[in-house]
């Protein structure tokens, strides 16, 4: 069964993080929330694998 990758997988992580925050720059809370939702849906569709998605949904529940 496929599982979600939880080890470092993005080359240039700092770059990515900055780009993500920049996308939210200047957005109201409402627009940011809606942007996040669209982004999640796009990424989820890209992954496609149902098992990985379930795994990610569970993994994200952990807060610390």
């Amino acid at each position: 069964m496929s599982t979600v990758t939880l080890t470092p997988n993005i080359a240039g992580g700092d770059d990515f993080y900055e780009e993500l925050l920049n996308a939210h720059e200047g957005l109201s809370k409402e627009d940011s929330d809606s942007y996040n939702a669209r982004l999640i849906l796009i990424l989820a569709n890209h992954i496609g694998d149902r098992a990985v998605l379930s795994d990610a949904i569970t993994a994200a529940k952990r807060k610390g």
Partner: protein, 546 residues
């Protein structure tokens, strides 16, 4: 004493005093049905076609006003056709294929149902419920004239029911006063608020949704609205949180406004207020007449068990869904399709009573599937939380530009017949390379018969009513009998299959196939070749004897 709860559209079965009412001892009937709606009348048609006596009791004298259910699925039409009532429905009904989805002011996308070729009936028709019911009742009278032992008694209200070990005693009120009757089997088809369910104290649990919808059926004058299904999410006319526009026969359109939970029903139902919503939505220059209106709320609920000894529940009495996806009346028809032949075999002593427990297993499975689908559609249409609303709108926003998001838009997943996977009546799949859609438990898909002229002669009318052995390019006896149940063979050869549909739907990669098909046109067993012992066992299994 006998006030109508609703106005009649057609008074089709006026009260007439019956000989039963003058007997000193109560008359015992094999089957009594409570409720003369579509599901109750379907019960009489199914049993009547088998020659089994059936009395339908209804507390009104005909079909109620109001279009109510308007969307009838192919499977329903196929079942009605088996009863001899399907064709007039299609002639009267409106066939639609194109759907459009709007968000705020924009059309976000459109879809075509693109129905598969090679089926006698369309994927869906829109037809006002009174027409649907009338065609079935007309058929009941036609059957009666041909000698079928079925009847419907108007203004016969069941006031009390006593359940005995092997029968039921009913106290029936009529305009001439009460009488008592008995039934070996009582079928409860008395709707979502089932008085029978309440009388017997059975549970009915599930979810109540906090929203209400206003239906306005309007007749357009000089209209140019096309025959399409239009669904608006958050229309800017603010006449509703969502709006559905859908065409019916007679130039009538269904407009369905989502108006929220905290509404003053009496205010909202005033014609001037309905017109205000309609005008805001349609524009001031569109001229229409009001035909019917109603406010509804809904629930997704079901009984834990549909069979309680000699009392069996079907249709809305057994399970209720939200209207999104047209899974109410359509699933009720599938209940009777499933129950009819089983009850027939049990009454004729050809199958053990335990066969009826498979009605419970299979139709509870069907109800759960319908409840799941309609709950999901409801959650999409009326988001329960702020986050759910954000995601819903994100899907709609994305669907305008990106194809991937369109399948996530859920304004109702339209009713498809249930596959009875895992049913105790199924035999293990002996055709592993056969198509998945015709695996054991599946409803048979229609297909043109190879020897027929294109557009005529379909497979399904040749199946059903009794057990059939469908052979494709395979040898088999013309029929056999196993512990009192007969099977007849239908031999087809795909060498003559002009469209290739039959081979695609029933053979797949296989060279030949033999199917055992139940009277409700569901697959009980299939193999590449006929094997007498295995098919005898499959028939015993399908009739509750293994």
């Amino acid at each position: 004493m006998f006030d109508d709860r609703y106005t009649l559209a057609y008074r089709l079965y006026p009260y007439a005093r019956h000989a039963d009412q003058d007997k000193d001892t109560p008359v015992r009937h094999p089957v009594v049905v409570m409720g003369g709606g579509p599901v109750g009348v379907a019960t009489a048609l199914d049993l009547g076609a088998q020659g089994i006596p059936c009395v339908v009791l209804d507390d009104h004298e005909g079909v109620g006003m109001g279009s109510r259910a308007i969307c009838f699925a192919k499977r329903t039409l196929e079942i009605a056709n088996r009863y001899g009532a399907g064709k007039p429905m299609v002639e009267k009904g409106v066939v639609w294929n194109l759907g459009k989805v709007f968000h705020k002011d924009d059309k976000v996308f459109e879809f075509n149902l693109l129905p598969e070729e090679g089926h006698e009936f369309p994927a869906f028709i829109n037809l006002q419920q009174p027409y649907f019911e009338s065609f079935m009742i007309e058929r009941l009278y036609e059957m009666q004239k041909q000698g079928a032992p079925v009847e419907i008694r108007g203004k016969n209200r069941v006031d009390s029911v006593t359940v005995k070990d092997d029968h039921v005693v009913l106290e029936v009120m009529t305009p001439d006063g009460p009488y008592t009757m008995e039934a070996d089997w009582l079928i409860g088809c008395d709707g979502a608020n089932s008085p029978l369910r309440t009388m017997l104290g059975h549970d009915f649990t599930g979810k109540v949704f906090k929203d209400s919808f206003l239906i306005a059926d309007i007749k357009m004058i000089n209209d140019d609205f096309p025959t399409e299904r239009w669904f608006w999410f958050e229309p800017t006319s603010s006449s509703g949180a969502s709006i559905l526009l859908h065409r019916q026969p007679d130039n009538v359109w269904r407009v369905d406004f989502q108006i929220g939970w905290d509404v003053d029903r009496k205010e909202e139902m005033k014609e001037e207020n309905i017109r205000k919503r309609l005008d805001a939505f349609l524009g001031e220059d569109v001229d229409y007449e009001m035909v019917w209106s109603s406010i509804y709320t809904f629930q997704c609920k079901r009984m834990e068990k549909f069979r309680h000894g000699p009392v069996i529940f079907a249709g809305d009495a057994a399970h209720q869904v939200s209207p999104f996806g047209a899974r109410g009346a359509n699933s009720g028809m599938q209940d009777i399709d499933n129950l009819g032949w089983k009850l027939g075999l049990v009454i004729n002593g050809q199958a053990p009573e335990s066969l009826l427990d498979s009605y419970n297993t299979e139709r509870v499975h069907g109800a759960d599937e319908n409840i799941l689908n309609s709950t999901r559609a409801t959650d999409f249409i009326t988001p329960k939380s702020e986050t759910s609303h954000i995601f819903r709108n994100a899907v709609l926003e994305l669907s305008e530009h990106y194809e991937f998001a369109r399948p996530l838009v859920n304004s109702g997943r339209l009713s498809l017949p249930c596959v009875y996977d895992g049913s105790p009546l199924n035999s293990a799949d002996g055709l592993p390379h056969g198509p998945e859609r015709t695996r054991p438990g599946a409803p048979c898909p229609d297909a043109p018969c190879p020897d027929a002229t294109p557009g005529e002669g379909f497979l399904l009318p040749k199946l059903g009513g009794t057990f059939t052995l469908l052979t494709l390019n395979a040898e088999a006896p013309e029929g056999f009998e196993e512990s009192g149940v007969a099977v007849t063979r239908l031999a087809l050869n795909t060498a003559d299959d002009k469209t290739g549909a039959l081979a695609a739907r029933y053979l797949g990669e296989a060279k030949s196939a033999v199917y055992l098909i139940r009277p409700d046109q569901h697959v009980a067993a299939r193999r590449e070749n006929f094997d007498e012992n295995l098919f005898r066992a499959a028939l015993r299994r399908a009739t509750g004897k293994e």
